[in-house]
């Protein structure tokens, strides 16, 4: 089978899956999105009634031939070189982004896509997720998303208890050796900035929900793998388990059949075949949907609890292409592949343009611009 993975330098998930599938005799191509445009050349040509595309670069030689499966893992953004006129940068960035969007829309239309890009783009919208979850019959938190200071202040005043604030996007500020990490945070009126600033960033406000524990639910087609996150054992992880993950315990768990049915209905509504969902389980046993991650990280679950198997099932899910799932990778364990993948990721990072993601901001008084925009691989001068 021939598989294409959209990835970025340092993507352990993509590397681990690629190593396993190659070991099973499949052809796997990893497309590093940030190598474009400095290390990659790509072309689309239309002539008469025909069209063709190609892409070339480090470890990449594509001539438009179809793939059986496209794992649209994380395509990463194009990264422009540091030495470029600042006035041209936003124009070039937009052109690169649009060209690559065109290219991906033309790549292998007949392949099995995980996930279809149009579905994924819609499914990444948090408020759409919550609305579709409501429609699928899942319980969702009462939610206000707004930049209206009056509505926000009224929501806090009328909540009748603690309220949490969530951002639409992960945020991470750095300044030298200090970082500021935005997670789900409790918020009260005293914490709000003045209205002129409050209105500048819409946020998501929800009542704080009491938890017995949390669930990380990974959906692979028709298969559902559920891990219980024992988040209430430590004070630091009660509000957001990402605050302290080192000792976080995971256990195998299962969804009640009715909740699982509604999860599949949500996935159908969003057009997703893969996703990582987060739930709160309340002390009285209610399952409250928080969100679905169309391309969430999943190997950390098996990393934390080796009996919650995900690497093998994920590989078999890809190979099944939406049909009956086989057991070609049933014996595959993350523990047997992680070190090789991690070492390969470190080695490959030297050959590809590094993408820092759009999560990081400088906290210094003089903004230095998008961190990824100045990235380049060691020894490569685009």
């Amino acid at each position: 089978m021939r598989l294409l993975i959209a990835t970025f330098a340092g993507d352990v998930h993509a590397l681990e899956v690629a190593l396993v599938l190659r070991d099973r005799g499949h052809e796997v191509v990893q497309w590093y999105g940030s190598d474009f445009p400095t290390l990659q050349s790509a072309s689309v040509e239309l002539d008469g009634r025909s069209a063709s595309w190609s892409a070339h670069g480090p470890e990449l030689a594509l001539d438009g031939r179809e793939f059986d499966v496209v794992w649209y893992r994380r395509s990463a953004h194009p990264v422009l070189p540091a030495r470029m006129h600042p006035g041209d940068r936003p124009v070039a960035q937009r052109e690169c982004e649009d060209f690559l969007a065109c290219l991906w829309a033309l790549v292998s239309p007949g392949a099995y896509w995980v996930n279809p890009p149009a579905s994924r783009a819609r499914a990444e919208l948090k408020l759409v997720q919550l609305r579709e979850a409501q429609r699928a019959g899942l319980e969702v938190p009462r939610t206000l998303s707004s930049n209206d200071p009056a509505r926000i202040r009224a929501f806090l005043a009328q909540a009748g208890g603690p309220v949490v604030y969530k951002a639409f996007y992960p945020a991470w500020w750095s300044d030298g050796d200090r970082v500021a990490h935005l997670l789900t945070s409790e918020v009260d009126a005293a914490a709000l900035p003045e209205d002129e600033v409050l209105r500048l960033t819409p946020g998501i406000f929800q009542p704080r929900i009491e938890k017995a524990h949390e669930l990380r639910v990974t959906v692979l087609g028709t298969r559902v793998v559920t891990a219980r996150i024992v988040s209430q054992a430590h004070t630091a992880t009660r509000l957001d388990w990402r605050r302290r993950t080192k000792e976080l315990a995971l256990e195998p768990d299962e969804l009640p059949p009715e909740v699982e049915r509604r999860v599949h209905e949500l996935m159908r509504r969003l057009g997703l075949v893969f996703g990582c969902l987060d739930f709160i389980v309340t002390p009285d046993g209610r399952h409250v949907f928080l969100e679905v991650n169309p391309m969430g990280q999943f190997l950390w679950v098996e990393h934390s609890h080796p009996e919650i198997r995900l690497l093998g099932p994920f590989c078999d899910f890809l190979l099944a292409r939406g049909g009956p799932v086989g057991d070609e990778c049933a014996d595959v364990r993350h523990a047997d592949w992680f070190e090789r993948a991690d070492a390969a990721a470190a080695a490959l990072a030297r050959d590809h343009v590094r993408w820092e993601g759009e999560f990081t901001s400088s906290d210094a008084s003089t903004p230095s611009g998008r961190p990824g925009a100045e990235a380049k691989p060691e020894g490569v001068s685009p």
Binding site: P170, V179, T184, P193, R242, R243, L248, N293, S304
Partner: protein, 50 residues
Amino acid sequence: MNEVREEVLPRILGRRLALEQSIQQFEEQHGDESARPTYTLRYPPDRDRN
């Protein structure tokens, strides 16, 4: 002569609520034996985690 003052701009709500710590503290709370954040098997995190 006019006094030149550096303007301190107010921060958005997300920045006010963000958990501040040193990189060392972050790694101690999240890293494995090689001080690597394990919950995502490397940064960046999920795009839209709660």
